[in-house]
Symmetry: C2
Subunit: 108 residues, 2 copies
C-alpha cells in the first residue's frame, strides 16, 4: 500500500466495487475486504467500516440480500448475494464511471 489513493478520488465507486465482486459469487465481508486488496494488487484497501456501510446501503436499496452461512465450526459468516436490482445498478454505475472518467480527462 505505497499508493497515493485518496478516498476522495475513489469515492462513489465503493458500492460498484462491492457489486462487481458479488456479481461473480456470493461472499462475506472479510473475504470481500481481502479480495479488494488482492484485485488492486495491494494498492488499495477499502476500510472495513466503509465496506459495512456499503453493505447497509446496498441492502436497504434492495441491491443485495444477506444470509448467515452454516459454518458448523469457526466464526459465523454473513454472506451477501447480489439481486437483479443490484446487477442493474452495477451496469449503470459502471457506465457512469466510464462517462465521468472521460469528462475528467477533458477537464484536467
Amino acid at each position: 500500500m505505497k499508493g497515493k489513493i485518496s478516498s476522495d478520488l475513489i469515492r462513489g465507486n465503493t458500492d460498484t466495487i462491492v457489486l462487481g465482486i458479488l456479481r461473480t459469487t456470493d461472499s462475506y465481508g472479510y473475504e470481500i475486504y481481502k479480495k479488494i486488496i488482492e484485485k488492486s494488487e495491494g494498492e488499495y484497501e477499502l476500510k472495513e467500516a466503509t465496506l459495512y456501510s456499503s453493505f447497509r446501503r446496498l441492502e436497504k436499496e434492495g441491491c443485495i440480500s444477506s444470509y448467515w452461512g452454516d459454518e458448523t465450526q469457526g466464526g459465523r459468516r454473513k454472506y451477501y448475494k447480489i439481486t437483479s436490482a443490484g446487477e442493474t445498478l452495477y451496469e449503470r454505475n459502471k457506465a457512469d464511471w466510464e462517462f465521468t472518467k472521460n469528462i475528467i480527462n477533458k477537464l484536467l
Copy 2:
C-alpha cells in the same frame, strides 16, 4: 447537462480542475465556472458554492493567490493566479488521478 455525473465520482478532482484552468492564465470565479461547462462540452457544471470553497482551500494552502481586477466600469472581479506550489500540486494530483483511475479499472 443530460449527464450522469455524480458529485461523488468527480469528488477530489475539483481543486485539480481549477488549477488546470489557472495554469493557462489568471482568471476569476464566474469565468472559471463558465469555462468548466465549456471544457466538459456542457456535461458538467461545477456549482459556484463548490468553486468558491475550492478557492478558499487553495488560497489557504498557498496554491493560488488573488487580486482585484482594475475594472473601471462593470462589476468588480477577483482574479486568481496559480503559484509554484499550485503547479506542483497540479502535477501531483494529476499523477494521482492517473494512478487511481487504473486501480478503479482493475476493481470494476
